[in-house]
Amino acid sequence: MRRTSPPAAVVLAAAFALLLAACSSKSSGSSSSSGSSTDWQTATSAAAGGGMSALIAAAKQEGELNVIALPPTWANYGTIIKDFSEKYGIKVNSANPNGSSQDEVDAVRQQSGTGAQPDVLDVGQSVALENTDLFSPYEVATWSDIPDSQKDPSGLWYEDYGGFMAIGYDSAKFGTITSSSQLLDPKFKNAVALDGNPTEANAALNGVMMVNLENGGSLANISKGVDFFHQLNQAGNFVPVQATSATVKAGTTPVVIDWDYLNATHGSDDPNWKVVVPSDATLGGYYTQAITKGAPHPAAARLWEEFLYSQDAQGGQNLWLAGGARPVEMDAMTANGSIDQSLAAKLPPVTGSPEFMSDTQSTDASTYLAANWTKAIS
């Protein structure tokens, strides 16, 4: 008997129709700027390109922006992206929110020349310094307000926001914590966690360094920090899980050593959550912005940077502050009064003198950790 199979035929037809549709929609995000007189790929400032209004017009024409590795709850990026998108009508494509700094530069290399190449990057200092060949120089309007030590003189990269390593904890459960030496106490059994693996993640690396400084170590030698975590592990207090808001909420990681602005979000569900920057170790770290070379949306990328470094009440700098991070132009903004005072007051107090790891110190610490971390906490 004849057996036709209409369902199978329909399904096959649908699948191939989809394939044709996908291939023919050579969609969005192709680099344009054909009509404008400026080539925004090489413009090194808004003024050089014909002024802010020209920049805004060109960016709107491009219509899209590719960002990468910007989790919405990280330093208030969710609001920043939304505000930028609404203000200029530009669609922001946020890819790989889970990514590390290395993932970001890998993505730029892997997708270079395509419409999916990330336009702008927000990476750790060391990764930035190693990949300057991927960047396009640009100086924002408020360039002079960025401290010299926190930007590249030729405009390839510029720091954006930072914070200090802090301990976040539930005060109702653990009382008051002022320094990490208290964490060896038996009441912290299975409680203390880092934000990731220190051989892989910046936040975790700085966490170990903070503890290192508290225990008599120095920026050049992280061994005392590793020893401390060894002791912590022996006492059964160390939880080998990456701390996130979810693990804090689930009770898996009740004490977290992380950047102060991230710690602020970990405990957002908990009214008793406290974040303390230890007085005996004020270890700071800033992240770095850059525009990629050959970006598919060069004007939008530059407009994004202008937005991030704008000192308006609703500009990027204050939005980062709302996320608990310290914007790089904070000193200048405090001087000229554009800083949002109420938000600034919410930052955890910093009592010691701030220290920052240099690029060499980061590399040396990483090398030491790569050789000794696993042994220490096994």
């Binding site: 699948a15 989809l18 969609s27 969005s28 989790p71 890819a95 790989n96 020349g113 990330p118 979810a246």
Partner: protein
């Protein structure tokens, strides 16, 4: 003659005439107890972590309080519907391409080139040997070319998804092929004058419905649950969107609610899919 009928389910014919006592009665009872114990223990094992997840998704800020805000926030993400749509389309395309590619090839090899069978088996195991994070290093250049020359659409992920589904689909289809005597079926059909297309499509395939269904279920579930490769290649699919939602909310319970919602969605979809295949019992199966 038994080989030409569709494989009957092991218990189906026996159920009708089951006597109460004696050997068959005892066997019936033993089987029933066995089924009850096995099915309920596994059900409990599978449901426990799921219920923990659901319980957490309802947890509120104060200990002991409950709220559905974690569930409501799933709907707040504007790109979610688009991501669902694209993932469903991806699932359809991946399943179709996988079936069209794998089924005829496996049957052909089984019938005509049996020495090639181990090669195909190894190739269909290879996608599982390389972790996604490093496979992307090899995939990125290919997808770069696809982006430049074809399209930026996430639908092109079907290319790699078919390959990811190969191990599971192959094993399911091989199990189905193993239990039918494909050579005899083919020889009988050929001796009656059937061409190769008829042999594959109208003689062998209809005897493999359960295997085909299972392969499709695994493929669809794979596409619905895939996260790593999509996010590393900078595409947005359902899991990437759900991840964004969970990272975008200060309510940590959203991770759990998004996950539970995605599982429920996939379950309903697969359940409905299973109705496509109605098991054929006894004689009069797919063979002409």
């Amino acid at each position: 003659m038994a080989a030409l009928t569709a494989p009957a389910d092991v218990a189906a014919p026996a159920v009708a005439e089951a006597p109460r006592g004696g050997l068959y009665g005892r066997r019936r009872r033993r089987l029933r107890t066995f089924r009850f114990v096995v099915l309920s223990s596994f059900a409990a094992f599978f449901l426990i972590p799921l219920s923990a997840m659901v319980a957490f998704s309802f947890r509120g800020t104060e200990p002991g309080s409950h709220t559905i805000s974690a569930w409501r926030q799933i709907g707040s993400y504007p790109g979610l519907l688009g991501a669902i749509e694209i993932t469903l389309e991806l699932a359809l395309m991946t399943a179709v391409v996988m079936l069209v590619l794998l089924v005829p090839t496996m049957i052909w090899v089984r019938l005509r080139l049996p020495r090639l069978e181990r090669v195909i088996e190894f190739l269909c195991l290879l996608p599982l040997t390389i972790p996604a994070i490093v496979l992307v290093v090899g995939l990125a250049p290919i997808y770069r070319q696809i982006r430049i020359h074809a399209t930026l659409s996430a639908l092109m992920l079907f290319g790699v998804y078919v390959v990811l589904a190969l191990p599971y689909a192959y094993r399911s289809l091989a199990a189905g092929l193993d239990v039918i005597d494909a050579r005899t079926l083919a020889e009988a059909a050929r001796s009656l004058g059937a061409g190769w297309f008829t042999v594959i499509a109208r003689v062998i395939v209809p005897n493999m419905w359960q295997a085909l269904l299972n392969a499709t279920l695994l493929t669809v579930a794979l596409v619905l649950g895939e996260f790593t490769i999509a996010s590393l290649l900078l595409y947005t699919n359902l899991q990437v969107a759900l991840y964004e939602i969970s990272r975008g909310s200060l309510n940590a319970g959203v991770l759990f609610s998004a996950s539970a919602a995605s599982l429920l969605f996939a379950f309903v979809l697969l359940f409905v899919l299973s109705y496509v295949v109605r098991a054929r019992g006894g004689a009069g199966g797919g063979s002409a």
